[in-house]
């Protein structure tokens, strides 16, 4: 291997060489710079290769021919190798990226850049304290120098502020060094560590100064105003270095210092880190400037990593895996985002909509924010999982809470930003970029995915988890990224075949319970995808997102351990988020969806981590073995997490918008299929953990209430909607309430009913959404009162809706009735009475909105402008007709699906099941015979119909205004169609129940956060002196807290 010193030598040598060149020879200078950086990269890459592939041992490189403490030594180990690679590669790519700027500025700029990169590698490599200081100062000077060269006039001030702060820091640093030296007699870091600096006289204070000086370089809250200014005003290429490489190097320096300080300094690191993480994320919320936002995010991420370093006492060796994962994710993502920011002309966040003209950039962006938010399959996700798992195992719950809260806020503003990109108007100035710039971003993108793979492998190796990027469904989903150039119908066929094939290959794996979900997820998904044939063109981005969601879903039911389950959960969440975001006006709704979902996911994560008690691999079935006092808390966390997905009341506000604003074929997917994921989670939870008590409160009883209230309020809100898809969305809340109620009953029939609801709700809600979507497509509106009388023009859609509403309402002979019948039988055997009152009230209310749905769309008066519309497209109708057939079949023979489940449920709830004799189904209380019901009703209906046909054979068909109208006649269909505010009296009587309490509550939460952030970020008033003061107070406070503790 090449001596690591050559990394520094290469940079220094090249920098000197540049100084010798004439100023005209900029091209040559640029080539030299690139060459030097490439050499550095190559050397570090070689070392990484050596450590990873050949398992080489760390090597010390001595200078001056003697060993420390008499000389400075550099150490090259795996972390150093990776970090130097990171620093030099970032430098190289940024140099490529800044080609035009560098060539315009000349050799001086290139030399400074080289020095900067060299200084950073120096910080990483050196094991000598004073040398560290020197490299620090070099880094500072070169950073300031680069700021001097920035195009942005404001960068000057930023650079000066930086210098002020660094002057103060260097004072602290030097004081620390000299006292530490005085105490230990060595400047070598390892030497100091072995000499246990802290135990020496004045050692603690010396280390405090050292520590604080280095930590302050990480821009801890509140002493970080200067850092933000640099992020905001520096050239993005340089900001990438500053964010990715400098932070990483300094973090590593902190890590080295902590070696000296020992375990007693860890809490301080954690404290500073967490506070910084939270504060920076919070302050980022009201940010509108993209680069400043990136700055806040960078500060937050380094804070998080610092906090993780502070946990090394319990993380042990895993700290490399976790902090490394976070650090690399952060570095790559931030470098990439900063590079992208250079391509965008406007500095407001919505200006980034310009990226839409280049899908690859959008993909890069989303990759980067997924890395930052710790979403699978990126290293951050694995790191997050392991970190929370270990922290929970050690009982550091508060820390988990704070970290997850910060992550949620961060995901909030990042995804809001992504929403702007996808949804806002594309600004006039488009993206301008050179191939160099694109390639820099592309390298970041590729390394992001590669790292995802590496971390997956590591996770597999050390913790026994599966590598997500090797899971077949995920691979299948990602394949669509490569196939995105194909026309939509080809991709659609591939997707349908893929889903069906996967089911065919795996259907023997599932127990009857999972089988139901597998069929709904895979076959059901394939059926809904039939509707997607209607889309023309290429539909960029649709199929990767869809298939990612399906991958998540299928992995969810196949998961055996909590990690797999959680990973699947996050995958389906992101997939569905992208899907929902595709809707025309879905930006705010998709955002609230992802925030609620991630919030729920974090609760699940915390729950799983708490349950695992530190065990790296925790089987889901092992949840059953949990005992007091842990079990109810785990139950609570998981239940709330899952109920977020089923949109239980209070957590429901994301659903109506998300489901109704989604595209026509997406709505049935997210409603008919995705909601079932939450139910599946609950089923798994209840199956393993059963009833739990917390402070004497039966938690399933609470769920019963939540279910009942969801059913009631969901239905009640549905009847007041004017928007057809919104109505259906609220109805989903109600239906999920029923299912939740059934599960919470915790008896055999309750579960059977819930599963029946799962099947039924999939069929009829998908059908109704497709039908409503088809109508909306033809009429160009979703407002029901603007439609009317479409029955003659869209008879098939009408039939689908008719069958759908009969099924939803539970009227015999369709399958909804079976659900109601089991429901009644289930509640009789349960001892809970009061919640039933609520759910009884919910039942008839369903009729109200269902009638409104069919009446105001298909019946009543046809409007002028819709006189010529056609039936919904064939591809919308086809799945609807399949559903009609399914509903009828399921109505006649529910046993096909339920019988096996019924038997299976005996394992969980022995007894209390149904008797299946012939076509009759009976319970301990009652009986019904679906076939007989169907036949009887058909015969009665047919007879009467024939009779009426006979009597009325000469009926004159009349038109829509041939109605009695008190001897007058209608003039306009609009004023004759009674549709708007259909249930006005109901609003008068019970409208108080549908006050948007939940919406107000959550609005209040977000507004409070925003306002608090907006007020407190005024701390950063832009005055360099204030920043100096912040720094000083930070030091004083840190000192007081440290010494006080």
């Amino acid at each position: 291997m090449v001596n690591a010193i050559y990394i520094i030598v290469a940079a220094l040598g090249a920098a000197f060489l540049l100084g010798l060149l004439k100023s005209e020879k900029r091209g040559t200078a640029y080539v030299i710079t690139l060459f030097a950086l490439s050499v550095m990269t190559w050397i570090s890459a070689g070392w990484v290769w050596a450590f990873v592939m050949e398992r080489a041992a760390p090597v010390d490189f001595l200078t001056g021919g003697t060993s420390p403490p008499f000389s400075i030594n550099f150490r090259m180990g795996l972390p150093e190798a990776v970090l130097t690679l990171l620093a030099s590669l970032t430098g190289l790519l940024s140099a490529l990226y800044m080609k035009d700027v560098l060539c315009a500025l000349g050799q001086r700029a290139m030399a400074v850049l080289l020095v900067a990169v060299m200084a950073l590698t120096g910080i990483i490599l050196t094991r000598d304290l004073f040398n560290l200081f020197v490299f620090f100062e070099l880094a500072i000077i070169s950073t300031a120098g680069l700021m001097l060269l920035s195009e942005d006039a404001r960068a000057l001030a930023a650079g000066f502020k930086y210098l002020i702060v660094s002057q103060m820091l260097s004072v602290f640093f030097l004081i620390g060094i000299i006292f530490a030296y005085h105490a230990t007699g060595t400047l070598n870091i390892d030497g100091m560590a072995t000499a246990s600096l802290g135990l020496k006289a004045g050692g603690a204070i010396a280390f405090f100064f050292l520590f604080i000086a280095v930590v302050a370089e990480l821009k801890p809250f509140p002493a970080n105003g200067w850092g933000l200014d640099i992020y905001e005003s520096a050239h993005p290429g340089f900001a990438a270095i500053f964010s990715a490489a400098t932070s990483s190097a300094v973090i590593y320096a902190v890590d080295k210092l902590l070696l000296i300080g020992g375990a007693e300094w860890l809490p301080m690191a954690t404290g500073i880190g967490v506070i910084t993480f939270l504060a920076a994320n919070l302050f980022a919320l009201p940010q509108t400037n993209d680069r400043r936002l990136l700055g806040y995010s960078s500060i937050a991420q380094t804070g998080l990593i610092l906090a993780v370093l502070g946990q090394r006492d319990i993380l042990g060796d895993n700290v490399l895996y976790i902090a490394g994962g976070l650090l690399l994710s952060h570095a790559i993502a931030k470098a990439g985002l900063n590079w992208i920011s250079g391509l965008v002309a406007g500095r407001e966040l919505p200006d980034w909509a310009a990226l839409r003209s280049r899908p690859i950039l959008v993909f890069a962006f989303v990759t980067f924010i997924a890395m930052l938010s710790g979403l699978p399959p990126f290293p951050g996700f694995y790191a997050k999982w392991e970190m929370v798992r270990i922290l929970a195992g050690e009982g550091r719950i508060a820390l988990i809470g704070l970290i997850l809260l910060g992550l949620l806020i961060e995901a909030g503003y990042l995804f809001r930003w992504f929403g702007y990109i996808i949804k806002r108007e594309v600004p006039a100035q488009s993206v301008r970029c050179s191939p160099f710039q694109i390639s820099a971003i592309f390298v970041a993108l590729a390394s992001g995915w590669a790292l995802g793979f590496v971390w997956g492998e590591l996770s597999n190796q050390y913790f026994g988890h599966d590598n997500l990027l090797l899971a077949i469904p995920v691979v299948f989903a990602l394949t669509f990224l490569l196939l995105d150039w194909l026309p939509a119908w080809v991709k659609n066929s591939i997707a349908i075949v893929g889903l069906s094939l996967f089911f065919y290959l795996t259907f023997s794996d599932y127990d009857p319970l999972r089988m139901i979900f597998a069929i709904i997820f895979l076959i059901g998904g394939a059926v809904i995808l039939l509707a997607s044939y209607d889309s023309k063109g290429r539909r960029i981005g649709f199929y990767p997102a869809t298939m990612l969601m399906f991958a998540g879903l299928i992995l969810l039911i196949r998961a055996t351990d909590t990690f797999g389950f959680f990973a699947a959960w996050e995958l389906l969440t992101i997939g569905s988020y992208f899907l929902i975001l595709r809707g025309k006006h879905s930006e705010p709704h998709a955002l609230s969806y992802i925030i609620f979902s991630l919030g729920g996911a974090f609760l699940i994560l915390a729950g799983f981590a708490l349950a695992a008690q530190g065990a790296p691999l925790f089987n889901i079935d092992a949840l059953a073995q949990l005992t007091q006092p842990l079990a109810p808390w785990v139950f609570l966390l998981l239940a709330i997490g899952f109920m977020t997905k089923t949109a239980a009341i209070g957590l429901h506000i994301w659903l109506p918008g998300a489901h109704s604003e989604a595209e026509t074929d997406v709505s049935p997917m997210v409603s008919g299929i995705l909601l079932k994921a939450g139910l599946f989670g609950l089923i798994v939870l209840l199956m393993t953990m059963g009833k739990q008590q917390l402070y004497g409160v039966e938690l399933t009883y609470v769920m019963l209430w939540i279910g009942a209230l969801s059913a009631l309020l969901g239905n009640l809100m549905a009847i007041f909607q004017e928007d057809a898809k919104r109505l259906l969305a609220y109805s989903s809340i109600g239906q999920m309430g029923y299912a939740l109620f059934g599960l919470a009953l915790m008896n055999h029939l309750g579960w059977l009913m819930a599963l029946m609801f799962v099947i039924n709700h999939y069929i009829y809600k998908s059908m109704l959404f497709l039908s409503a979507g088809g109508v909306a497509k033809r009429t160009g509106t979703r407002d029901m009162y603007r439609m009317g009388g479409l029955i003659t023009l869209m008879p098939l859609s009408f039939i689908a809706t008719l069958i759908g509403i009969i099924a939803v309402s539970g009227v015999p002979p369709l399958s909804g009735f079976g659900g109601r019948w089991i429901f009644y039988n289930a509640i009789i055997s349960s001892e809970y009475r009061l919640p039933m009152v609520i759910i009884f009230l919910a039942g008839p209310i369903a009729f109200l909105y269902l009638f409104r749905l069919i009446h105001t769309i298909f019946l009543g008066q046809l409007k002028d402008e819709y006189r010529k519309i056609k039936e919904a497209p064939f591809w919308f109708i086809l799945p609807q007709m399949i559903y009609v057939a399914l509903l009828l079949a399921f109505a006649v023979a529910p046993g096909v699906a339920l019988r096996r489940v019924d038997t299976y449920l005996n394992q969980i709830f022995p007894g209390g099941g149904l008797q299946w004799t012939g076509t009759e189904i009976s319970s301990a209380y009652g009986y019904w015979n679906p076939v007989a019901i169907m036949i009887i009703i058909a015969v009665i209906f047919g007879t009467l119909f024939a009779w009426l046909l006979f009597v009325n054979r000469k009926a004159q068909k009349v038109k829509q205004f041939n109605i009695v109208y008190a001897a007058e006649r209608p003039y306009r269909p609009e004023t004759t169609h009674f549709a708007w505010n259909f249930f006005a009296p109901y609003r008068k009587a019970l409208g108080f129940l549908v006050q948007p309490f939940a919406t107000r509550f959550w609005d209040g939460v977000t507004n409070t956060l925003h306002t608090a952030a907006d007020i407190s970020r005024r701390l950063y008033n832009g005055n360099g002196q204030s920043y100096a003061f912040h720094l000083l107070s930070f030091v004083v406070i840190a000192y007081l807290m440290r010494m006080g503790a």
Partner: protein, 301 residues
């Protein structure tokens, strides 16, 4: 279980008896209402005549398929409801088609006709029809609640959903009736009953002068005749459920006639005395007076 074909003629016999009794009872109740208003009232056969006349009308119009199907739904709902519940306790002949399902089937089948009718009325395109349906649905959503609670209380009390078994449990003297064993449930149910009979004070749905008879505004001729037939069957079918659940059922036809008459009389009695509620008033009324009774009944049972 092989199907017993004799069930069909037996059921038709039940249907025949009930239709006629329904026509008779409707007229009788109307007459009693007239007498309360010091009028002589209609001839007792008037409803037959009206029905024949409506079948005898020569012309008719149709607004479309659903308009056509509305009355069919309606009458199927009535007939089905009747046939899904055993009429005479202990009689094989008049157990009708109750083998197909239990109480829950009957309860949910009530909505079959209502829904179909509402759809048919909807297709007529008449705003009054829609207004009537809107009112009807709004009112029924709370009127059904006390009844559902009472039914549930009864089911809990007897631990069964089979109508026959519930009746069986009430045999052995009238003190065994649910009326006396669970008076709260019966009180709640009977208040709910008022709401489902389309009589004052809960007849704002068809408010004849305001929204000319609401949903059936456009119906006439044979459509109307079908609906009239249903008006003979449906109340009886409903009352049969009440009778079976709360009043010990009937083990022979005279008892049946008598009990049905008395239960029907209850709604007529209230109907001739009270003026009409607006929808929100009746919703509040049910929630304030009837629902608490129902809640009490299921808690105390």
């Amino acid at each position: 279980m092989p199907f017993d074909w004799m069930k069909i003629p037996y059921s038709l016999l039940t249907l025949f008896i009930v239709v006629n009794y329904g026509f008779f009872l409707n007229a009788l109740i109307q007459k009693m209402g007239a007498r309360a208003g010091r009028r002589y009232g209609i001839p007792i056969w008037q409803n037959y005549v009206d029905m024949i006349k409506n079948y005898g009308l020569r012309s008719s119009i149709t607004h479309g398929a659903m308009f056509y199907l509305g009355p069919v739904f309606r009458l199927s709902g009535g007939v089905g409801l009747l046939l899904f519940v055993p009429t005479i306790y202990g009689s094989y002949m008049f157990s009708n088609l109750s083998f197909a399902g239990d109480l829950i089937l009957a309860l949910y089948f009530i909505f079959f006709g209502t829904l179909g009718m509402a759809l048919g009325a909807g297709e007529s395109g008449h705003p009054h029809a829609a207004i009537g349906v809107s009112r009807g649905l709004a009112q029924v959503s709370t009127a059904e609640l006390p009844f559902a609670l009472a039914v549930f209380a009864v089911a809990l009390q007897y631990q069964t959903l089979s109508v026959t078994e519930i009746v069986a449990a009430q045999q052995g003297g009238f003190l065994q009736w649910t009326l006396f064993t669970n008076p709260l449930a019966v009180a709640a149910a009977m208040l709910g009953f008022l709401g489902s009979m389309m009589r004052p004070p809960f007849d704002v749905v068809i408010a004849p002068q305001e929204i000319p008879i609401g949903p059936p505004t456009e119906y006439h001729s044979a459509y109307l005749a079908l609906m009239q037939t249903n008006r003979a069957i449906f109340p009886i079918a409903k009352i049969v459920i009440y009778m079976n659940l709360f009043f010990g059922g009937a083990s022979d036809w005279p008892t049946f006639f008598f009990k049905v008459f008395l239960i029907y009389l209850w709604s007529a009695f209230v109907g001739v005395v009270f003026p009409r509620f607006r929808v929100e008033q009746s919703i509040r009324w049910f929630l304030i007076w009837a629902v608490p009774l129902g809640i009490l009944s299921i808690i105390l049972v």
